[in-house]
């Protein structure tokens, strides 16, 4: 379950060591934009040691390395991969070849470590016009890709438009990213909402992203994590309905019936698939049927 992903600057000990207590499902340890060029070595050592020695509880660890057009990305992977992050985030992913380049080096490191290929998965960060247009090619470039992530700040700079709270300027990119990800059968994450003091704005933005089909959303502020988790969690009503669907399926199979209806609506394969996803998520959240709580 990865509803929220919280960015943590890679050279800030105070945030790195406390990140696991801020409620996010995943932490993104950032070696890229949050770190100045003369501190790249320092951040790399700090993130590596934090991952090696700190108990990060149930948080998934994602490390945003530097892009493949820099001198840093291979050093980042050499230092970070032995600590087995769940995902490597590759910024400025513009085309399938970028993924294949990173994938080839990650495979080399995995061989060096005696690991199976694709032990560490990849989350391309799509933040250019070229990347958006190539979203499906990026998402399907390698089985190592587990998810794609939209970065709207760099994208709007590339599009030469202003980033607004309403987000009309990134509507096309959001829609295209969701379709590309689902077609490639990978997860898709929405860009952070950058006004850290706007508690209502983050809710509206997260709800909109969820309505489009995003799996979850990133955040640059711990203040936004709770709302993101709430918005991207199934409601009690959704959970109860999912259990009802599965019970209806069980009964129909028992009685040898093919067509199944629940509350007057036909239950087909997509509804069953959604019910299974909802139950899996509810179980991970430790939430059962409403009747179980009574």
């Amino acid at each position: 379950m990865r509803r929220s992903m919280l960015f943590i600057p890679g050279n800030t000990p105070n945030l790195l060591i406390n990140g696991a207590y801020l409620g996010a499902d995943a932490l993104i340890f950032d070696l890229e934009d949050a770190v100045s060029p003369d501190e790249k070595d320092s951040a790399r050592n700090l993130v590596r040691n934090t991952m090696k020695y700190m108990d990060l509880r149930r948080c998934e660890v994602i490390v945003r390395i530097n892009s493949i057009d820099t001198d840093y990305w291979k050093k980042d992977l050499d230092a970070i991969m032995p600590q087995k992050p769940h995902l490597i985030m590759l910024p400025k992913s513009g085309c399938a070849q970028d993924i294949l380049t990173a994938d080839a080096y990650m495979t080399e490191v995995e061989q060096r470590l005696g690991w199976e290929k694709n032990t560490v998965r990849l989350m391309p960060l799509i933040e250019t016009a070229l990347g958006v247009e190539n979203a499906f090619a990026i998402a399907s470039a390698s089985p190592r890709v587990a998810a794609i992530f939209l970065g709207a700040e760099d994208l709007t700079a590339d599009l030469r438009c202003k980033r607004t709270k309403g987000g009309n300027e990134i509507d096309y990119a959001r829609g295209r990213m969701v379709v590309a990800a689902r077609a490639a059968n990978v997860d898709v994450y929405d860009t952070p909402f950058t006004d850290v003091n706007d508690d209502e704005g983050i809710r509206v933005d997260a709800e909109y992203a969820k309505s489009l089909g995003f799996t979850g959303k990133a955040s640059i502020s711990p203040r936004h994590v709770g709302v993101i988790n709430e918005v991207f969690s199934p409601s009690q009503k959704d959970i109860d309905y999912a259990y009802e669907v599965m019970e209806a399926i069980r009964l129909a199979h028992e009685q040898g019936r093919g067509a199944i209806a629940l509350h007057g609506k036909m239950i087909d394969a997509p509804i069953v698939a959604r019910a299974q996803q909802t139950i899996a998520m509810a179980e991970e959240m430790g939430v059962g049927k409403a009747a179980d709580h009574e």
């Binding site: 800030t12 000990p13 105070n14 060591i17 070595d41 320092s42 050592n45 700090l46 590596r48 040691n49 934090t50 090696k52 020695y53 700190m54």
Partner: protein, 88 residues
């Protein structure tokens, strides 16, 4: 390979440690200033010595200003200062 130039790593912010290292000739000379000196001074010194040994540093002078850093942070900052001091 020993320390060939003066180098530093880290900051004086809370939960961090500032490490300054320079070439030496008389083994490891360590000067520690820490907000938790009384309780953790010995273990910080031992950790720094351990990291220096791991990186083959036998002669160096260090000044360490600790602001309540955890072991993983101290380790990271010493490693960075050593690598920079070796000119890597």
């Amino acid at each position: 390979m020993d320390i060939i130039k003066k180098a530093s790593a880290g900051t004086l912010e809370s939960s961090d440690v500032y490490v300054e290292i320079e070439p030496g000739t008389q083994g490891i000379q360590l000067e520690l200033e820490s907000v938790v000196e009384q309780q953790f001074g010995d273990s910080i010194r031992a950790l720094v010595q351990e990291v220096l040994a791991e990186y083959g540093v036998e002669n160096a002078r260090l000044h360490i200003a600790d602001r309540g850093a955890l072991d993983c942070v101290i380790r990271a900052r010493v490693e960075t200062a050593v690598a920079r001091g070796k000119g890597e």
